[in-house]
Structure formats: C-alpha cells, structure tokens
Symmetry: C2
Subunit: 307 residues, 2 copies
Amino acid sequence: MERTDINTLLEKTEAWILPELENIFDEKEREDVTVKAAMYSLMAGGKRLRPLMMHLTSEMLNADADKEADIKYFAATLEMLHTYSLIHDDLPGLDNDELRRGKPTCHMVYGEGIAILAGDLLLNKAMERMFAICEKNPGYIHASSMMAENAGIRGMLGGQSIDIASEDKEISLELLTELQEKKTGAFIEAAIVTPYYLYKNMTREESASDETAKDLRKLAYHIGLAFQIKDDILDVTSSSEVLGKSTGKDERDSKATFVTHLGLDGAKGRLDEEIKSIKTILDKLSASGFDTTDYETLTDFLVNRDR
Amino acid sequence: MERTDINTLLEKTEAWILPELENIFDEKEREDVTVKAAMYSLMAGGKRLRPLMMHLTSEMLNADADKEADIKYFAATLEMLHTYSLIHDDLPGLDNDELRRGKPTCHMVYGEGIAILAGDLLLNKAMERMFAICEKNPGYIHASSMMAENAGIRGMLGGQSIDIASEDKEISLELLTELQEKKTGAFIEAAIVTPYYLYKNMTREESASDETAKDLRKLAYHIGLAFQIKDDILDVTSSSEVLGKSTGKDERDSKATFVTHLGLDGAKGRLDEEIKSIKTILDKLSASGFDTTDYETLTDFLVNRDR
C-alpha cells in the first residue's frame, strides 16, 4: 500500500475537524464575547495532532460512518480541552505568553478576565458535549470518563501542577518524565485510545483487560515521550524563525528538560529508544491485522520535524 | 409538625456535606499544591446553601439511604463547581477580591497561577465525579448533563460573560434579570432540581414533561431571584461588619442591581412578589403530598437574613 505523506494526512485532518469545531456553539451563543474568545483560540490553528491521532485510530479500526462521526465529535471535544489548557497556560499568572502559533494569545486580544472565562467555557463545554452524547449512547460513558480523567489531576492538570511547583527547582529525571507523561502525554493517550473505547462501547473493566487497548495505551505513552523529547531537542537546535516561537526559552527559564538532564546526545539516544518501542508496538498491531501505515508516517514525522 | 429552625438546618447540612468534601481527593492527591489550594477554598466555609437545598429536596422526596448518599455525592460536586467559580471570579483579571468570607482569597494565599489551576481542577474533578458515578448508574446521565449545562454558557458562565461584557455600561432590567438567572440562578436550579432527577433516574424527555420537575424548576427560578434581590438590598442597607464583606460596593463599582433599577422600595416590592410566587409553588407541592416545611423555613430565612 502506498504511503500517504504527512502533509496530506494533516490537510485531511484539518478538513475533517474544522466543520466540527465551527459548529460547537450555535449562532446565538457565538454572539457572546466569551464564546468569541474561545473560538478565536480554537480556530487559531496548530497542527491538530490530537485530532489526527483520533482520525488515524478511527481509520485503523475501519470505523463505519456513524462511528466515525462520533469519533470526530470526541476529536473536537479533545481539541477544546487542549485549547483551554493553552489559553490558561498563556495567562500572565502562569506562563505569561503573548504569542501562540505566531498570533497574539487569547488574553492579549480579549483581556485577562475574558480569557479566564474562555478557558473555563471550553473545558465546561467539552464536558457538556460528552454528557450530551452519553444521553444518546450510554456505551460512551467510560470513554468520556477516561477523557475527563486525562484532563484532571491524574493527567494534564496534574502535569501543570508539578510544573508550577517545580519552577526554579532542580527536578529528577523521574519527576520530569511524570510531568511530561501527564502534561502532554495524557491528551495524546486520550487521542490514540478514545476512538477504540468508542468503537467498542467499552466499559472500564473491558478496557483494563483488552489486549489492543493495552497496546494502544503503550503506543500513546511512547509517542507522548518521543514528542516531548523532540520538542526539547528542537528548543536548543532549531532557530526561532523555523520554530515560530522563541528558542532557547527552556534554558533561559532554567527549565528542566530531557536535554538539560541527558545532554543533547543523550536525549537523541533516548528518542531513538522511544522510536524503537513505538515500532515494536506498531508491528504487533500490524500482525493482528490493523493497518498501521499512517501511524508509521506520523512517527517518522514526529522524529524528523524541524518545528 | 414542628418547624426546624434555619440554624439547625444549616448545621445539619454542614455535618452532612463536610465528610463528603473532605474525601473528594485521596491522600496522595492531597499532597499536590493545586489540590491543597482547591481544598483551601472548598473548606473555607460559606453558608453551604446549595447543599442545603439538595438536602431539603432529598428529604422532601423521602429518598432512601442509598439514594441520599448519591444525592450527597452530587451536592459536593455542585459545591465544587460553585467554589471554582468563586476562585476564578476573585482573580485579579476578574473581580480582583482579596477577601472572601473574611478569609484571604485563593490567589492571595497560593498565588495567581495555582489559583487558576485550582479552579480548573475543581471544575474538572466535578465532571470526573459525575462521569464516574454514571459508569455505575447510567440513570444519572441526564442529571449530570443538566448540571454541566447549568455551569456552562447557558448557565453560570453565561452570566459571568454578560457581567464582564456589561461592565461600566447601563444594562436593562431584562438583561440584569437574565444575568442573575444565569450567574446565580443556574446553580440554585441545579441544587433544587438535581435530587429529583437522580431520585427518578430521569431522562431528558421525562424531565421536560414531568409536572413536579416543572414545579421544582419554577421554585428554583423564584428562589434564585429572591436571593439576588435580597443581596442587592443588603448591599445598600447592611453594615460591612454584619455582612462580612464591604458594602456599597455595587454603587462604587457603578454596577447595575435591582436596587439601582427599581429603587430600594421597588426592589423590596419585587422581593415580596417573588416570595408570593415561592409560597404558591410550595403550597402546590404540599397539596401533592410533599412535606415543604423546611423549604418554607429556608424561604423565610432568605428574606429575613441580615447578611
């Protein structure tokens, strides 16, 4: 089978997810200033990597049209959760960033108060959407529950909390790994695994014992780490023009990264290890009959990207 | 039947809800600084009016022990949502309040960044709790869905958004009423009606047509308005020592209130009307066999309180 290149995959994902994002709020709601601020950030671009992963899992499962529509609904929901976390993270009280993806951050455009509410709104609406679809299909409760957990203290928020608590402190490689596993890894797990839970209307018990679910969670773990290590490497090797954000920021903020811990070569070595683990799991899934070609393309992209 | 006085009701509610609040996070989670900040605000007191209302509906329904335990679980969940909204509302980017219930606000104690995350955490964890209990009892999905909506753009956040958009502007009595209906009314509705949805494992369709559900929603609407009008009256008539917060704040902030719109006497008249509507609905519920005595006590308290 001929491989689809990453740019085509990214373009397909963009076309797949945008109409869904545009219709999250109805016409009347879109007149509200907080909704406008939320939509500003939601539509501000980015690679849409999480929706891409959901799309890839959906295609790997050969989900039918109805199931795929529901997976898309959850992909938009996860993108909302990701965007809320960025809006709040950019606030003056946290990272105090004025630019995101080359555009002014939410609070720079709408003011701090509305940016706080816009983040709250995206988080709340994401949860509303999941409850609403569970009213129609109770088989989605566990998938929704896991997505909410991935956003909480055991996931993204837990990572943010470790991050803020360890500012200006030396942290161990172990804690750094936990931080990243939660802060960025939890949403990557949600992206890769949720479609499978939805596809199977899976309960908590089933998802704990299912072999494919376990493989997908492992895949997510290693992709998440590879993604973060690559980010840390790019922060010291790339130029800010290419990256679209300031480089060397981690060092100036004396932030612990995989590069500060392992050195540049050590980090590259660790990245290679993660890639090997990813390939092993993909081979196993492939042997079970899943078409993992596009996931291989994604993996190559994550390693070779220059931004 | 002898009436239980309001202080006894409030004390009973405190004893009912506190152990539930204390156990929201497990021991390990409570070591996290963001969890500590969230718990600080959650345990900082307040009248626990929303849990009280949930308790009253639960007792009015004669809920059995299992059902009552679940209602208590949701009461704690609503209190978490209420507390997150206060933490974020107090932030410098919004109301910039240093004191709440006579104690330093969350960001004064833990800093702005952690206070943002603590609010996010309470919101997220509230949703997690609802998904988790729905995994055990899918009959609770609609109740959870409504609670999430009451916290969103059609409820509390919608009210916050109108509030911030109308700062330093003249707003109509109609918009002021909508603002209050959403900002404070939506959680009062959740408090009064959710126990009934839980009690009946009610679906969206059932809750739309059920006569008692409709009465409870009307009751909530009028209690919410009465509560807010009384607040506005107290802001101009009470002293700050009694109120435990600064008075005359609305006027200094040139904030539209029921008093600025209707005058003090007009607001008192409007309050009387709301009380009449409340009594009418309580009489109807009473005639249907519900014991509404404690709700009458609550209503009297809401009108006669001096803080």
